[in-house]
């Protein structure tokens, strides 16, 4: 049965929906954020490719750059305050270095000498927009790399998860009976498992690289609670008269499944996907932070390193090590979530303004 009564072209529907989406301020903010990070993700290979950046300096994992500066050797007094310093923390100050630190390496050095030092981690400068980390790697490059990881991981696992749960949910709704009962219990089982400890265990026996992690998060997510929600949505469609109509007119089961139930479930599925990205990004960051996965570079890893080196306790003195990575995770995960909210406002006609 073809629907040819009023055939609006797909493009106009899309345009209409996009206009509605634009109305939702929340969704637009999210979209802007996501586009921004997407841009960052693409920017990095572009910079390398066009030679504006060279690998040795700017590579997020292997690069090295250190800013040289001259430091005066001082001896820090035992009591404070003195005329030069207010508290113990002020000595040695930015361009000074304590003689005690140097002694083991340069025994002949005297107070007042000037020595060449390399600053790492270096604060933001012209050549390094966000400075370098404790290993001399450019932080901005790391952020961009992390962005690539986040997008890749997030989108892959979310898509996988939604794919699985949509199909399973639709099958459960359509066939009912034992199939349904089994799938529901399976979801229950998975809902029951606390995801973080589970991921710990899995990371304990396999080496998790980005691909693997995406697969794992995707499959786990797909088999879990979203199946239940999609099933109930699909059920609502199933009881609608037009499904019976389609069956009477001889549509095969698969046909019904695809042309009727799936399109109705699609908005919900898209919503889940967007929220899924949020979850995936958050999970990965947490796992990296706890040191459980083996990625070359990600935002979670950046924070983990900063904490291990103790830079977080120094507060905002080394802000470029602390703020950008955490902020990126927050913003990108939040950006996808906001898009989801914006989409929700469109798709769910019940939520439209009265």
């Amino acid at each position: 049965m073809e629907n040819n009564i009023i055939k609006k072209s797909k493009l106009t529907t899309f345009k209409q929906n996009f206009n509605r989406f634009k109305e939702s301020k929340i969704g637009m903010v999210g979209l802007v954020i996501v586009i921004f990070f997407g841009f960052l993700a693409i920017l990095q290979p572009f910079l390398f490719f066009t030679g504006m950046w060279d690998y040795s300096t700017y590579h997020p994992v292997l690069g090295y750059d250190a800013v040289p500066y001259t430091a005066t050797v001082v001896e820090c007094p035992k009591e404070y305050p003195t005329e030069n310093y207010n508290t113990r923390a002020d000595c040695p100050s930015l361009n000074e270095i304590s003689i005690i630190t140097l002694r083991p390496f340069m025994p002949e050095v005297e107070i007042g000498d000037k020595v060449e030092r390399f600053r790492q981690p270096a604060p933001p400068s012209r050549s390094h927009i966000l400075g370098t980390d404790s290993l001399g790697r450019d932080v901005f490059s790391q952020i961009m790399e992390g962005s690539q990881v986040a997008f890749f991981l997030g989108l892959l696992s979310a898509t996988l998860s939604v794919f699985i749960s949509t199909i399973l949910g639709s099958i459960a709704a359509y066939f009912g009976g034992i199939v349904d009962a089994y799938l529901m219990r399976q979801s229950d089982l998975l809902l029951m498992l606390p995801s973080l400890p589970l991921l710990f265990i899995i990371s304990a026996f396999t080496e998790l690289k980005v691909w693997h992690l995406a697969l794992v998060i995707g499959i786990l997510g797909g088999l879990g609670g979203s199946v239940i929600t999609i099933k109930s949505q699909a059920l609502q469609v199933k009881v609608k008269p037009f499904v019976d109509l389609a069956r009477i007119t001889g549509g095969s089961r698969m046909n019904i499944l695809f042309s009727h139930i799936l399109p109705n479930v699609a908005p919900l599925a898209i919503l889940f996907m967007v929220f899924g990205v949020t979850g995936a990004i958050a999970s990965e960051s947490v796992l990296s932070f706890l040191g459980l996965i083996n990625l070359d570079m990600s935002w979670g890893l950046m924070i983990a390193l900063s904490q291990a080196d103790g830079y977080i306790s120094a507060g905002f003195e080394f802000w470029w090590l602390v703020v950008p990575a955490g902020l990126s995770v927050t913003l990108l995960a939040g950006g996808f979530y906001l898009i989801g909210r914006g989409l929700d406002d469109i798709f769910n006609p019940r939520l439209r303004k009265r």
Binding site: N19, R20, E23, K353, R354
Partner: protein, 325 residues
């Protein structure tokens, strides 16, 4: 007898993504005390919008651009939300279309009625309120056990009666009944209608009865108005309109109702659909469906103001001219 409600030149539009929908255009009517007034028209003609505007309950994207609604001497349109709350239910109450859903499913019926009474009679004690509710239930024919029940435990007819009881609970001067019997079967419908009439007479209330069913209007009302595409096209005493309809639309409405008595006739129906209310039309909005439109109807050179034919019987000029040519 003074008018309990005077609506003058009311205009209301809805803001949508496709433009402004002019739901009510230059609507004016008066409802005297103790009278019952019917508003008839097809779906989408604006009757419910009128009802909503009387309680200032129109949706957020609706805006009253001009006109006044004077209830018992006060212009409701100008009132603040605080003052409006005092008018609602206490002055004007409403029996909604689809009264099934008027009840909050997790609160007992009795409590929901009490809530309304408490709002307007805060000094009443619990027992006084129970008395009031029992009286109301008596009036509408409900058993006192209903007080402690949840909405889903009642049948459709019972819920409807309860809604009527709710509408009466604060002794309003005007009740709006917006298609209160649409979802019920004819037997119940008949009962409910009789009950409403009985109550109205007993308590001396004014009634604004809204329906698309012209037969019900005939039974229930003293005065009536016919609405089409946001305007009133004919207004007057019910008996006058039925015996001597002047507007083509009114005539067609009457002719489309089957009659049990008399010869079998082919039912006449109206071709086409009501016009979109988005673009403001100077022309007669009915002209696209009028069986005998003239040039002036369509090009807008006739004003749509109503003219009075006989005592209280008004009709819009377009059709009057048709008839007299």
């Amino acid at each position: 007898m003074s008018n309990i409600l005077e609506v003058k030149d009311l205009n209301m539009q809805y803001k949508t993504s496709e433009g402004f929908v002019k739901a009510i255009q230059d609507v004016s009517f008066d409802i005297p005390e103790k009278a019952s007034f019917g508003l008839v028209g097809e779906s989408g003609c604006g009757k419910t919008s009128v009802a909503m505007s009387l309680l200032q309950l129109q949706s957020d994207n609706a805006e009253i651009t001009s006109g006044s609604i004077v209830f018992d001497g006060t212009d409701i349109v100008q009132l603040s939300e605080q003052d409006l709350r005092k008018v609602r239910w206490f002055g004007i109450s409403i029996v909604f279309q689809g009264a099934m859903n008027a009840w909050n499913p997790v609160i007992k019926i009795g409590e929901q009625i009490r809530e309304a009474i408490r709002e307007h009679y805060p000094e009443n004690s619990k027992d006084q309120n129970t008395e009031i509710i029992l009286d109301l239930f008596n009036l509408v024919g409900l058993d006192q056990t209903v007080i402690e029940r949840y909405p889903h435990e009642l049948s459709g007819g019972m819920k409807q009666r309860a809604v009527i009881a709710l509408a009466l609970s604060c002794q309003p001067k005007l009740i709006i009944a917006d298609e209160p019997t649409t979802a019920l079967d004819v037997v119940i419908q008949d009962q409910i209608l009789k009950e409403i009439r009985k109550i109205q007479n007993k308590l001396g209330l004014s009634l604004l009865y809204i329906s698309h069913d012209i037969a019900v209007i005939a039974e229930m009302t003293d005065l009536m108005a016919v609405m089409y595409a946001g305007r009133i096209v004919e207004i007057g005493k019910t008996t006058d309109l039925f015996s001597n309809p002047k507007h083509t639309y009114t005539k067609m409405l009457l002719e489309s109702t089957p009659s049990i008595t008399g010869d079998r006739k082919t039912l006449k129906s109206l071709e086409g659909e009501p016009p979109s209310l988005i673009d403001f039309q100077e022309a007669c909005s009915f002209s696209s469906r009028c069986p005998s439109p003239t040039k002036e109807c369509k090009d807008g050179s006739i004003s749509m103001k109503l003219i009075e034919l006989e005592d209280g019987h008004k009709v819009d000029q377009c059709c009057y001219r048709c008839l007299n040519e």
